[in-house]
């Protein structure tokens, strides 16, 4: 799959809250195919403290209109600068990068997103739904403010929510959700993206239940294209780059996660 560089044009910047926003972007040329789980490397211009590009999962893609969207949480200086973009501004992206989620063997998948980790799950839910799979989506966050656009997923399947403070959905962490209370879970595959401890907890839970589990890692990246070897993950087959051989890994391959 050929990666490319384009100057996208921001046509909308939805500020969902003080922390979360969705950038809607127009591509000047035909976008290449983008798979669920792939990401972009965005150039933050006019920001003296952000020299390197910033990686973001692709949130939505509209192939007809040649558009894409990124869902971003303000984490520091680069994301704060991106939050200020407005319609007409330009955003330079290298994309599509990385591997993608593998389609499951079975017919029922659970997608778990923690906070902004939900970003890559929209395309995945859509793809699974299109393939005729049954989909459940579980979104976790610290408070109700961290549960972003949950209703979007309802067209693909059931949506479940947990918050640490109980302000929305069930109180507790995603792994404490009542979905997991039974002995035999209906899911043939679990996909997760979010903070590291959450993904590890999900991975352990999946393992204990004998369910295949893929996670999308958010390792620090410099190049995003396999050149710098900064973003490595220790796997059973040695170090792998999370930008080319990831960001999606099956947790059974992750050495430090066993």
């Amino acid at each position: 799959m050929k990666r490319t560089i384009h100057d996208f044009r921001v046509y909308q910047n939805d500020h969902l809250s003080n922390d979360y926003f969705v950038l809607y972007l127009d591509c000047p040329e035909k976008m290449p195919e983008i798979l669920p789980g792939q990401f972009v490397q965005a150039l933050v211009e006019h920001s003296p403290a952000t020299y390197l590009r910033r990686p973001f999962s692709v949130y939505h893609v509209d192939e007809q209109l040649n558009r894409m969207a990124l869902m971003i949480k303000v984490a520091g200086i680069g994301t704060a600068a991106l939050m200020k973009l407005s319609a007409g501004d330009t955003l330079n992206l290298i994309y599509p990068l990385g591997n993608s989620f593998e389609m499951p063997e079975g017919d029922h998948a659970l997608l778990i997103g923690g906070g902004v980790g939900i970003a890559p799950m929209y395309m995945l839910a859509k793809r699974l739904h299109d393939l005729g799979k049954k989909v459940d989506v579980l979104i976790g966050g610290r408070t109700s403010k961290d549960i972003i656009e949950p209703n979007l997923y309802r067209e693909f399947g059931n949506v479940h929510i947990t918050t640490d403070d109980g302000s929305l959905g069930e109180k507790g962490m995603v792994t404490q959700h009542s979905l997991f209370s039974g002995e035999n879970l209906p899911f043939s595959k679990i996909y997760a993206c979010g903070p590291d401890p959450m993904m590890r907890a999900v991975s352990n839970l999946a393992k204990s239940k004998g369910i295949d589990c893929e996670v999308s890692l958010e390792n620090l990246m410099a190049c995003g294209i396999g050149a710098c070897l900064c973003c490595i993950v220790e796997t059973n087959e040695g170090n792998k780059t999370s930008c080319v051989e990831g960001p999606v890994f099956n947790t059974r391959d992750l050495k430090a996660w066993q």
């Binding site: 560089i5 020299y51 390197l52 410099a222 294209i225 710098c228 490595i232």
Partner: protein
């Protein structure tokens, strides 16, 4: 008038290497070439310096291996590579038909290791030269230690020179009191060229966790931040040695590259900037050409070392 439309000659000669133009990619920032084929025709480059190649497989350092700094970055990758045999069997076939020069960056922790890699690379037809990395700050033994004292730099150069008859470039460390002295020491032992600078030692701390940002505590600083330091090292080295000098450190555009050429570099390498714009090298080549046309130079050789210091 007519001469303004004749394209200037960009080719330069680094010992036996005939480069199409003075723009090469720096080791460890460009993989082996294929990583960038989506973004440019890599055969437009003056040359490609591969990721470091060692005698044995190396996993490199633990994650995290990078931190961003003001207009730069720290890395502590630590020579991760699958070793010279793997290079010869699996990577060389993919790049042997490039029409640009491919130079292998050679590293190790012992003199014998350096020699082993050099000897194994010698028969490879496409590889007309190696760059001896005696300046990597990111390995516990060897690495930079070789590059920070004249006797050690001389001894590893001498040993490799004995087994390697093609173009031998020695890559110098900037983390020294007197880099010109080290350049002269390796020139005396038969180096055909010196390249500089490797990364400056640096460090960054996460104040919330009160922990170093890198697993190795310190790492190597690169990017625009180091450009002034690199330039002030290339200049005295170019004045101290007779062999060609290859300059690098923070080069991000044609203007930066021209500064190094004026300071005396016969060719330049682009490193970290490839991460920001994977097609930057082609833009730099074009920019140098534009500069030569604008200033009416017929060859890039007309500006090399032509800094006017009155």
């Amino acid at each position: 008038m007519s001469d303004s439309i004749i394209k200037p000659d960009l080719s330069v000669k680094v010992h036996n290497l005939n480069l199409k133009n003075p723009v090469m990619t720096a080791s460890g920032t460009f993989g082996y070439g294929p990583e960038f084929e989506d973004f440019m025709d890599v055969n437009l480059l003056g040359g490609i310096l591969t990721k470091a190649c060692t005698s044995k497989n190396r996993d490199g350092n633990r994650y995290p291996r990078m931190a961003e700094t003001p207009m730069g970055m720290l890395n502590s990758v630590g020579l991760q590579n699958k070793g010279v045999d793997y290079f010869i069997q699996n990577i060389y076939p993919k790049i042997k038909d490039y029409t640009t020069e491919v130079i292998v960056n050679v590293s190790d922790s012992t003199v014998e290791g350096y020699m082993e890699v050099a000897e194994k690379l010698l028969p490879l037809e496409k590889i007309s030269g190696i760059e001896l990395n005696i300046s990597c700050p990111n390995v516990k033994e060897g690495g930079m230690a070789f590059g920070t004292s004249c006797p050690m730099a001389a001894s590893v150069t001498k040993a490799v020179r004995e087994v390697y008859s093609k173009t031998l470039i020695v890559k110098l460390s900037p983390n020294v009191t007197n880099i010109a002295e080290i350049a002269r020491a390796v020139e005396d032992e038969g180096a055909d060229s010196v390249s500089l600078i490797n990364t400056l030692l640096g460090m960054a701390i996460d104040i919330e966790k009160r922990k170093p940002m890198l697993s190795t505590i310190t790492g190597g600083l690169s990017g625009p931040a180091v450009k002034p330091v690199a330039l002030r090292m290339v200049w005295p080295v170019a004045n101290a040695v007779k062999i060609p000098v290859i300059g690098m450190g923070g080069i991000s555009n044609a203007s930066d590259a021209i500064e190094f050429l004026l300071a005396g570099a016969t060719a330049i390498q682009v490193g970290t900037a490839n991460f920001i714009d994977p097609a930057v090298c082609v833009k730099i080549i074009d920019g140098i050409e534009d500069y030569l046309i604008r200033h009416k130079f017929s060859s890039v050789n007309d500006i090399i070392g032509k800094l006017n210091i009155q």
